[in-house]
């Protein structure tokens, strides 16, 4: 934002910055603080004096919110709701962050290079993306999870293995989404004259991609990346409800899945994780939108 502050010469930079800040919508602050809260809980939740998330409190089964020792109550099996949410934040952040950065990285690399070099490589990539996109996300994840991390009473697969396979299946879902965005934006930017100008000075192709294409494509990728975090959380929740998410009620999705049978006795078991998922997804969408408009300003000025 310091660049926008330079433009008006009659005002001091501080005044200009203030003006830009004023324009931020209230939704941005709500979204940013919720994301901040979830991040804090996920990264530093273990320092909070919460009860253990994976221990059952037999003396207080299914107590309501705001009861002594259990601020959001417990489940019918005696698990502390708040501790579960804090732990779920950790899992959600871990899963969605890894899936989106790795999947987004691979996807946008493939997308950008295919749009830049064109030719047969581009055709293969587009076909590959279309095939991936034509398979419904849930079916794809289901198939991968049940093949690679099959689990029953005789052949239990470890939690780690299931989480890894879950992340891999989410990465496969993310690759074509960000790949197509990266490809589309690169098609537009790499035909601009400054790319040709840099080429005419003898700059190598990957240097041009890094220095000229990527900075222009990045806003679109970042915005969609934030949206993707939201959808990854939803996919994870859906998988949990189908019974193949992170096992043992560790994630928000599996808390929801475990609690849905007790809706009439202890509705907070469903509401708490559901609201967490909803808020996080909405915040990611808002934040992504804001990032896009904020980074677009420089281009809009020209």
């Amino acid at each position: 934002m310091s660049d926008t502050a330079v433009a008006p010469t009659t005002e001091s930079p501080a005044v200009a910055i203030k003006k830009v800040r004023k324009k931020r919508p209230i939704g941005f602050y709500i979204a940013a603080s919720w994301i901040g809260l979830v991040l804090f809980l996920g990264l530093f939740g273990w320092i909070l004096p919460t009860p253990k998330w994976d221990a059952s409190f037999f003396d207080s089964l299914g107590v309501g919110p705001f009861s002594k020792g259990h601020i959001l109550g417990t489940t019918q099996d005696g698990y502390d709701e708040f501790a579960g949410l804090v732990n779920g934040a950790r899992i959600s952040i871990f899963v969605s962050f890894i899936a989106v950065t790795v999947g987004g990285g691979i996807g946008s690399f493939i997308g950008i290079t295919s749009a830049y070099f064109r030719g047969t490589y581009d055709k293969i990539v587009v076909t590959f993306f279309n095939i991936l996109l034509s398979i419904p996300n849930l079916v794809l994840s289901l198939a991968l999870l049940s093949v690679l991390a099959y689990s029953d009473e005789n052949h239990p697969s470890s939690t780690n293995r299931r989480v890894v396979v879950l992340i891999i299946s989410l990465i496969v879902v993310i690759i074509p989404i960000l790949g197509r965005i990266g490809r589309g934006a690169t098609l537009q930017w790499s035909s601009r004259e400054f790319v040709l100008a840099s080429k005419s000075m003898g700059t190598k192709d990957f240097m041009i991609i890094r220095k000229h294409v990527l900075p222009n494509v990045a806003p679109a990728l970042l915005a969609i990346g934030f949206l993707a975090i939201g959808s990854v959380i939803i996919v994870e929740g859906s998988l949990a409800i189908l019974g193949i998410g992170v096992p043992g009620g560790a994630s928000w999705g599996s808390m929801l899945a475990n609690g849905r049978g007790n809706l009439e006795f202890s509705p907070w078991e469903v509401y708490c994780p559901a609201l967490c998922i909803a808020f996080t997804v909405i915040s990611c969408n808002w934040f992504g939108d804001y990032v896009r408009t904020a980074l677009d300003q420089r281009e809009a000025k020209i």
Partner: protein, 324 residues
């Protein structure tokens, strides 16, 4: 000594759904060190394609035949990596629109030093000093402050000066200026042209100045090639061309420049009609259907490039002022 640049039968065509589009046809051009050649023609006559084809910057849908001799060596068949070695240090290009030829999200300084560090292997400090020196050379006020600015903070003329500074940063021997003044307003045009001529003399560069304005090339070139529908229709030393033009098209181009002497309200002469369809290859002179002097012979037989003496070539059956 072999000339700096020599094009022999250069042809460029694009594969389109309607058939091959011939953008440049059998062009022969020669340019010596320190000389400047003006390529003139209306929109769609193949000027830009000619300069890009010479550098090798065409899109993959284009096919190019013929020889491009750079310092006596044919570079048209070289692999891309070897041609790239020439770009920047051997041949450089200035683009038409300085608004789009600079990356909007990177600072002037990084764009200006990019080729210095990448191509010449300078370290950051040297590159920065060289960049400031270059900006002083193209007369940019406050070069140190300019390093930190973004393109949107600069006027069109300033951006074009930056583009020129970038193009000459690796001291090329051959400079292609693709309509360098079209996007600028008239007061700045003269300054930019003056600067280009000055730099050409200082670095002893060969320059190809592509433009649609005969007035622009008059004072800044040694030779002029007039292009029409992909053909070079007249090719002569500048003085010779203006004193004794042979081609009706060149005459028509010159007539359509607005003049101060003409009384207010006079209609500006235009060249009626349009360029022929470049995907069709019809016999006859390509300018015949717009030419005031055209006869039946012009419509049925293609005129060859005729040598009129004094290095003056033209492609016309009935040149103005008669043949040689």
């Amino acid at each position: 000594m072999s000339p700096l640049l020599k094009l022999e039968d250069l042809n460029v065509s694009f594969a389109t759904p309607r058939g091959d589009l011939r953008a440049v046809k059998n062009v022969n051009i020669e340019l010596n060190q320190g000389e400047s050649l003006g390529v003139v023609g209306e929109s769609g006559s193949g000027k830009t394609v000619l300069s890009r084809a010479t550098m090798g910057l065409l899109p993959s849908t284009a096919t190019r035949t013929g020889k491009i001799l750079y310092k006596g060596e044919d570079i048209s068949q070289l692999p891309r990596d070897e041609v790239r070695q020439l770009w920047g240090t051997g041949m450089a290009m200035i683009f038409q629109d300085p608004m789009t030829a600079l990356n909007p999200v990177r600072r002037i300084g990084t764009q200006l030093t990019e080729s210095l560090t990448v191509r010449l292997g300078m370290n950051k400090k040297d590159a920065r000093e060289k960049a400031i020196e270059l900006m002083k050379r193209v007369r940019i006020p406050d070069p140190e402050g300019m390093l930190r600015k973004f393109p949107y903070q600069l006027s069109g003329g300033m951006r074009q000066r930056i583009m020129i500074a970038i193009a000459v940063s690796c001291s090329p021997e051959m400079l292609f200026a693709d309509e360098p003044t079209t996007a600028l307003d008239v007061t700045v045009q003269a300054q930019v042209l003056e600067l280009l001529t000055e730099l050409r003399k200082e670095f002893n560069m060969g320059m190809i100045l592509v433009t649609h304005d005969l007035g622009v090339v008059a004072g800044h070139t040694d030779k002029i090639a007039v292009m029409y529908a992909g053909d070079v229709v007249e090719y002569a030393p500048t003085r010779q061309l203006f004193n004794n033009m042979k081609m009706p098209y060149t005459e028509a181009l010159l007539k359509s420049i607005p003049r101060l002497e003409t009384p207010t309200g006079t209609r500006l002469p235009v060249i009626e009609g349009r360029l022929p369809d470049p995907t069709k290859n019809e016999p006859g002179c390509s300018f015949a259907n717009r030419c005031p002097y055209a006869t039946d012979k012009c419509r049925t037989e293609t005129p060859p490039l005729t040598d009129g003496g004094n290095q003056h070539f033209y492609r016309c059956w009935f040149p103005i002022g008669g043949g040689k």
